[in-house]
């Protein structure tokens, strides 16, 4: 029996991923856990390992394609190679009808509902008119999906056929994993917009047909440096509808560039946060003269221990300790329930600029880790992110975010809150400035910070106090080295 392997559930909120690379070809024999493909999800490039050992019979996807959770990626041949770790693999379709043998002369794909019939390439189906002995469940995610028929009412199944949606690939939101009409429609609108934009990509001239003057340049698509075929997809709507854009071509040549998966995700997240959360920002400055001195003095001893001490680790520690005093900033607002969810853990995200875009890896339990450990973790995490090797777990579960825009200059910035968190700390470049201290003008190193928070959760005074708590800690760095 051929064994289909579908895109596994990647975790909360992630319903699709873009195929970056396919690392195997049809006919390849792969070992269990060997890398099959690379997908770009939310904010990470993830390697998908092979769930079992076997020969790749078919690769159903190609780079640049967006696949939904549950969609079949690769079909493995049955093989003598036993599937390790798959305890109960057998699943006979429990429908009382026998699977019809495929009519032989026409190589026709049968979108059957029964797992081990539908995923079976026709060559095999023709041979095995009898009973299928054993087949592997489609995915490792466990319950329901991939075993037996997809749970949905007959009317929903019909709707799926009408809209050309493969039911097995639809993300179910109904009780007990049931696919609802709305799920099918959502999946259909996703793929419909994709195919329409595909058409647009194939025939870009059509888009330009509205251009009045024949001499006007039609928009060109993609950059010369576009590494792989990007397919343009609309951003997910967030309530307010954007008015149609003017035809820019009437004023001069334009180029249309599809957004990368990451860019789209960032765009959607930022629009969501900016639309939903009433942002308010409080500015302050921390005197980090002493902290700066400590960092400078520690360069040598730190390097001996294989470390580069940076301001960020101190910021992390200071913020985590301040958050413990001001828990409403380590929270999420549950508008529907009318509740504030206070998190009793302090997982802090640090915005990292990569060439592909902004990524926010998360360091866990910042309050409980010594500063040196934070520094070490930060270094390895940032490197993983820059190499595109971060795992989803590296990017999830943050409660508060710090973004350091200091490296690129400027005197301050107002970042957008990383939804659904409640606050974000922006840090600009520390500068030596003249400060009046006890009646004398002295040079001090000042760090401009901005605390942007959800005004639904806290008021200006709370923000000022929370910012002051961070500042106070940054100004007593020796305490930060000891506190955990």
């Amino acid at each position: 029996m051929p064994r289909p392997f579908a895109l596994p559930d990647l975790g909360e909120g992630l319903t699709e991923a873009e195929i970056v690379k396919v690392l195997v070809g049809e006919g390849d024999v792969v070992a269990e856990d060997a890398p099959l493909l690379e997908v770009e999800t939310d904010k990470a490039t993830v390697e998908i390992p092979s769930p079992f050992a076997g020969r790749v019979a078919r690769v159903h996807i190609q780079p640049g394609q967006t696949v939904k959770v549950g969609e079949v990626l690769v079909t493995f041949d049955d093989s003598s190679v036993a599937s390790a770790g798959q305890g109960r693999g057998a699943s006979e379709p429990h429908s009382p009808r026998t699977p019809p043998p495929a009519p032989s002369p026409l190589p026709r794909r049968q979108p059957a509902t029964v797992a081990n019939v539908s995923e079976q390439p026709v060559e095999h189906a023709a041979g095995g008119a009898g009973r299928a002995g054993a087949s592997a469940p489609a995915m490792a995610t466990g319950t329901g999906i991939g075993v037996g028929p997809v749970p949905a009412t007959p009317a929903t199944r019909r709707l799926a056929r009408e809209l050309g949606v493969e039911l097995r690939a639809v993300r179910a939101t109904g009780p007990a994993g049931r696919v609802t009409d709305d799920d099918v429609r959502a999946a259909a609108s996703g793929s419909a917009s994709r195919s329409s934009s595909l058409a647009a990509r194939v025939n870009p001239a059509q888009r330009g047909q509205a251009v009045a003057e024949p001499g006007a340049a039609a928009p060109t698509r993609g950059g010369a440096d576009a590494e792989r075929a990007q397919v343009a997809k609309p951003l997910a709507p967030i309530g307010a509808e954007a008015p149609p854009l003017p035809r820019f071509e009437q004023w001069g040549p334009v180029q249309r560039q599809p957004l990368s998966h990451l860019r789209r995700t960032i765009a959607e997240r930022m629009a969501l946060s900016a639309t939903l959360i009433p942002h308010v920002t409080h500015f302050d400055r921390a005197d980090v003269t002493e902290l700066d001195a400590i960092i400078r003095r520690s360069v040598e001893p730190a390097r001996e221990r294989g470390l580069v001490l940076t301001l960020t680790s101190f910021l992390l520690k200071a913020a985590a300790l301040a958050l413990k005093e001001h828990p409403q900033f380590n929270a999420s607002l549950d508008g529907a329930a009318g509740e504030l969810i206070l998190k009793r853990y302090y997982h802090l995200g640090v915005a990292v600029a990569t060439e592909r875009g902004l990524i926010v890896p998360v360091i866990r339990d910042v309050d409980r880790k010594p500063l040196v450990e934070l520094q070490r973790e930060l270094a390895t995490l940032a490197q993983r992110v820059r190499e595109g090797k971060a795992t989803l777990d590296d990017l999830r579960g943050g409660t508060f975010t710090i973004t350091n825009i200091g490296a690129l200059g400027g005197t301050g910035a107002i970042p957008i809150i990383n939804y659904p968190e409640a606050a974000i700390l922006g840090v600009a470049r520390a500068r030596e400035e003249p400060v009046v201290l006890e009646g004398r003008i002295v040079p001090r190193t000042l760090l401009p910070i901005s605390l942007t928070f959800d005004h639904r959760v806290a008021d200006g005074a709370d923000g000022a106090r929370f910012a002051a708590a961070i500042v106070r800690r940054l100004e007593r760095p020796e305490q930060l080295l000891l506190d955990w």
Partner: protein, 463 residues
């Protein structure tokens, strides 16, 4: 008229007027396709109406009346010994039951504009049928739907030529009430008809090749039926092959396995049904037929020939009228360009014996064979108020659920009315309801339908 003189052109030609055929034809006509049905008997209803489901249920109703009257004695109501007059009984079955339904079907066909042509249809190509018989003609079609159904299987080596050796069709004609009847085959047809004849007064022996009655449903559901059969039948020979049948005077001698020989007045051979696909000229089309005569179809009821569809028993097991009817509607819609598919999760099955056995979806034994983990609840009707008032506490309602999601995967019921009760379970499994959905739905009290709710509650309490 010379054959070939008359050529008619239609959108859809349906071959066979049984439940699959007429359902397909009606749906095609509703969707604006010009449709004809070619039926050898020039009638709609097929084996189901004329020699299967309907007449057997009519006779089983009579059997149930007799049994109820007998049981009534235990609760102090005496009707006396029943006296069965075959002529009025046959007349009632033929005219008031089968005849009435047949007239109904004919008038529906007329209303929908579906013409029924009498004769045997043979494919000459993927575009043309030749009709042989009283109304010889040719039909050019855009699409054809093969709905030729099935016929009772014969046992190799056993003759069927004697009047005393009947198949189910002959037995339903009720030629007489034989003193001693041998039923070969312990499946649903043999048990249903065996019970009819036993109730009417025959001394019935059942011979079954395998080691249990009624293959298919879980054994715990068959057990109450088996107990009832043991009382009703003179003898049940399991694991027994009938090796020869010899007519001797007015009796038939049956030889079982090795040596045992017994004489019967009549023999009913009920060893299953076989698809009717031979002699149809399918070899002139691209449709593929396997060695057993089953026409291969896909989910949309399409054969390998793009112009030809097939529905019902001719497409194989389970050979049940309700499956054929659903397939017929699917085929009609697909031909009309609608996004239909026979993607049904369950095809419920009912055995109309006393007690009835009905099941749908996954059975416990199938789950066991698959190594699939399931939760099972059995609710014995001894605890049902309604069953007590009916004097029938021998039923069982059984649910099979997915332990991870609580979704219902299958159900089985044994007891009077099981055939009606299974409908709710079929709806639940087909629509992927959970045990909780079933348990939280109010069921009327006191009814047997409560047993489904009770079984669901038993599952809930365990999780």
């Amino acid at each position: 008229m010379v054959m070939g003189d008359l050529v008619i052109e239609v959108d859809v030609a349906v071959i066979g007027g049984g439940p699959g055929g007429y359902s397909a034809a009606f749906r095609c006509a509703e969707l604006g396709l010009e449709t004809v049905v070619v039926d050898a008997g020039k009638r709609l209803g097929g084996a189901c109406l004329w020699e299967g489901c309907i007449p057997s249920k009519a006779l089983l109703h009579v059997a149930a009346l007799i049994e109820d009257a007998t049981r009534a004695r235990e609760i102090g109501v005496e009707f006396g010994e029943p006296h069965v007059s075959l002529d009025p009984l046959r007349k009632w079955k033929a005219e008031r039951v089968v005849g009435r339904l047949a007239r109904g079907l004919a008038s529906v066909a007329k209303t929908k504009g579906v013409e029924v042509i009498g004769g045997r249809a043979v494919f000459e190509s993927s575009r043309e049928l030749r009709v042989e018989g009283d109304e010889p003609q040719k039909i050019r079609f855009k699409h054809a739907i093969v709905a030729t159904g099935s016929l009772p299987s014969r046992v190799p080596g056993l003759p069927l030529e004697s009047d005393r050796i009947m198949d189910s069709t002959a037995a339903l004609e009720l030629p007489e009430i034989p003193e001693r009847l041998l039923v070969i085959g312990g499946g649903y047809i043999g048990l249903e008809l065996g019970q009819v004849y036993a109730s009417l007064g025959s001394v019935v022996t059942v011979a079954e090749m395998t080691d249990g009655l009624l293959p298919g449903p879980d054994r715990d559901l068959v057990q109450p039926l088996a107990r009832r059969c043991e009382k009703l039948f003179a003898k049940i020979r399991l694991g027994t092959t009938v090796t020869s049948l010899t007519e001797r005077g007015s009796a038939v001698e049956a030889r079982f396995g090795g040596d045992a020989v017994e004489a019967f007045d009549r023999v009913l051979v009920a060893v299953g049904r076989a698809p009717v696909s031979a002699g149809l000229g399918l070899e002139t089309t691209r449709a593929s037929v396997d060695a057993r005569g089953v026409v291969a179809v896909d989910e949309r009821c399409r054969t390998a020939d793009p112009a030809i569809y097939a529905v019902g028993d001719v497409t194989g097991e389970p050979m049940l009228a309700h499956r054929a009817m659903r397939q017929g509607k699917v085929a009609g819609e697909v031909i009309a360009g609608r996004p239909a598919a026979f993607d049904n999760v369950v095809v419920p099955a009912v055995v109309f014996t006393d007690p009835e056995v009905a099941w749908c979806g996954l059975t416990e034994s199938q789950a066991q064979r698959d190594g699939r983990r399931v939760q099972v609840a059995r609710f014995a009707w001894a605890a049902s108020g309604r069953a007590a008032t009916l004097g029938r506490s021998d039923g069982v309602t059984k649910l099979i659920a997915d332990p991870d999601t609580g979704r219902l995967l299958g159900a089985g019921i044994v007891g009077p009315g099981a055939g009606e009760l299974i409908a709710e379970a079929a709806l639940a499994v087909e629509t992927a309801l959970t045990v909780e959905d079933l348990a939280a739905t109010i069921h009327t009290h006191p009814t047997l339908s409560e047993t489904l709710m009770e079984a669901a509650e038993a599952l809930l309490q365990r999780s």
